[in-house]
C-alpha cells in the first residue's frame, strides 16, 4: 500500500487512476502532474520512487482539492444567490443555468443543481 494525500492505494493500481480518484483531478490535470514528475502513463503506484511520491504529495497539498474545492464551488453558487442573480436562482431551482431549453433533456441540471451542490 502506498500512502498519497491521505489515501492508501494498492501497489498494483495505476498512478493515473489513483490520482484521478481525487475530486479536482481529471485526465488533463493528471497528465500534467505525471509529466511534471516524470511518471509514464502506465506506471503503477508500486513502481513510484520515494522521491516521486513525496513530490506528488507536496504538489497535491498545494492544490485545491476534495472538500476545499467542493466548498469553493458551493460558495460560488451562494454568492450568485446572495446577489439575487438569475443564475443563482436557476441553481436553486434545479434548472439549467446557461439558457438551455427546459422542455426536455435537463437531467444533468436536475441531478446537480441544488442549493448545497455536492460536486
Amino acid at each position: 500500500m502506498v500512502f498519497i494525500f491521505g489515501v492508501n492505494f494498492p501497489e498494483s493500481r495505476l498512478v493515473a487512476r489513483s490520482l484521478q480518484s481525487f475530486y479536482g483531478i481529471g485526465p488533463q490535470v493528471c497528465t500534467r502532474l505525471m509529466a511534471r514528475f516524470h511518471v509514464h502513463k502506465t506506471a503503477k503506484v508500486g513502481a513510484l520512487s520515494d522521491r516521486q511520491i513525496n513530490d506528488l504529495a507536496a504538489e497535491l497539498s498545494t492544490m485545491t482539492l476534495e472538500n476545499d474545492l467542493r466548498r469553493q464551488l458551493q460558495q460560488n453558487i451562494k454568492r450568485l444567490r446572495d446577489l439575487g442573480t438569475y443564475r443563482g436562482r436557476r441553481h436553486a431551482m434545479n434548472l439549467p443555468v446557461r439558457g438551455q431549453r427546459t422542455r426536455s433533456q435537463i437531467m444533468t441540471a436536475r441531478k446537480l443543481n441544488k442549493i448545497e451542490r455536492i460536486g
Binding site: T31, R32, A35, R36, H38, H40, K41, T42
Partner: protein, 492 residues
Amino acid sequence: MLLAQAITQMAPPQCLRCLRNSLQLVEHRSLIQPPTRAAFSTTSLLSAKAAQPRKTAGTSNKSKTLRLSKNIRQTAGKPPARGERKAVRKRIVLSNTNALEVDGLQDLTADKLARHSEGTVALQTFTGQVLGFSDETVDALRALESFKPTQAWSLFRRPASLVRKETAALANDMADTETDTSKVARKMVFGEKGSGKSVLLLQAHAMAFVKDWIVVHFPEGQDLTIAHSAYEPLRTPNGRIYVQPQYTAKLLLSIANANQALLSSLQLSRDHQLPFSVQSNMSLFRFAELGGRDPTIAWPIWQALWAELLTPATKAVQRPPVLVTMDGADQVMRVSAYLDPEAKPVHAHDLALVRDFANLLSGRTQLPNGGMVLAATCASNRAASPTLDYCLSRTYIKQEKASNAWHLLPLRGPSWDPYQLKDARVESAVMNVSALKLQGLSKDEARGVLEYYAKSGVLMNAVTDGFVSEKWSLAGHGVIGELEKGTVRMRF
C-alpha cells in the same frame, strides 16, 4: 324523491354503503400506521407496493428460455491468471514434431560466410536455397527476440530460412567490414508488408552470431516510444535527455544472454566512472548482466559497455565487430508519447537509447572495429513519419539512378510539401543511410522456398513450374509473406 331518482339513474360505480366501509378502512389503517410523509403524497405507498416482489403460486424465478445446448453458456472454470493470455499471445513455438525432417537441410555455418578466392562469399551460391540454424544460433536469436510470434516458425521441424539475394549481399557487406573496418554498412530496410524485413534482420543476427560478432538488437522500436516504460531526465552538456532504466536493463540482459560465450571471453579494458565499484578484470558478460539485473545502475553500465565495445582493438584488447539492429525503426523517427515537465511531447531522439542508436545509424558514432547498423521499418504498424518516408524514397531513387535500373523509376524524385516542417533530427539521422528495399522474390527463390515447404510435408502439391508461377503471381510477384499465406497457411 328526486334524489332517489337521480341515484337510480346515475348508477354509481360503487354503492354508498361500500364507500362508507372503505372510508372506514382507510381511517382505521391510517390510525394504526401514521404516514411518515406529507399526507397529500402517495409516492411512498406506491413505491412500497411496487417494491414488493410479485409472487403468484406456481411460478418460479427460473428463466423461460428454451433449453437448447447452444443457449447454455459453458463456464470454463477459472478465468486465466494474470499475464497468461499475453504469454499465450506472445509465445514463440519453433518446432513442429508433425512436420517432416527435410533431408539435406544444411545449417548456416561460418564456412558459408567466408569469402571465395574470386571475391564473393560462399553464401552467394546458396541463393534460392533454405538453410537451417544451429541450436546455439537459435538460442541466441531467441534471447535477442529476433523471432516474432506472427512468423510461421511453428509449422516446420526446426527454424530455417531462405537465402535470398539481399541475404547474400548482407553477408558480402559483413565480409567487407571484416577486411576493412572503415567499411561499415548502415542500411534502412523497407518494403511492403510481408516482404521479409524482420526475417532479413534475423538472418543478419544469425550470420553475425556465426561470425562471432557482438549483436545488439532493439526488438521493437515502439516499445521505446509509447511511454510504457519508466523514464528519468538526465542533464547533459547538450541538453536534457531521458533515460529508460527498465528498458535499458532488459536490453542489457538480452545482449548478455545472446552473446554470452563471446562476452565472457572479453574483459573490461579500462576504468569507468561508475557510481559503484567493479572488478577491474570483470568479463563483459558479467558486467552486462550486472546492469541487466538492476535497473538503477543499467544506464551507467550501458554507457560503459558501449565505451568498451567502441574501443579500438589492439593486440592486448580483443574487440570484435558489432551488429546493431532495430526493428520497427519508423516508430523512433518522430515524437514519442513521453512528456517533458511542461507536458510537451518528447522527441524520440531525446530518449537516450534512441539517440545512441540514431548516432550509430547516421554514422556520427563510428564503429572502429567494423560492424553493421541495420534498421527495418514496420509495414503493418507504420508510424506516420513524413520526413523518414521522404528521405528513404529520395535515397532509394538516387541509389537506383546510380545503378542501371534508373529507367524503371519515375524521372522525378519525391517532392516535399513546402507547407510542412521537416524534422531536422530525423533527416540528419537517415540522410546518409543507404536504403534497402525488399521486394518480391525471384521465381528461382520462390521455387526454393516452395520446395522446402513440400519437403517439410506442409505443402501437398507437386512443385512444378506452373505451380510456382501461379503462386508467385498470386503473391504479388513473389512477396514472401503472401507466398507463405497462399501455400502453407491457407490450409491451417
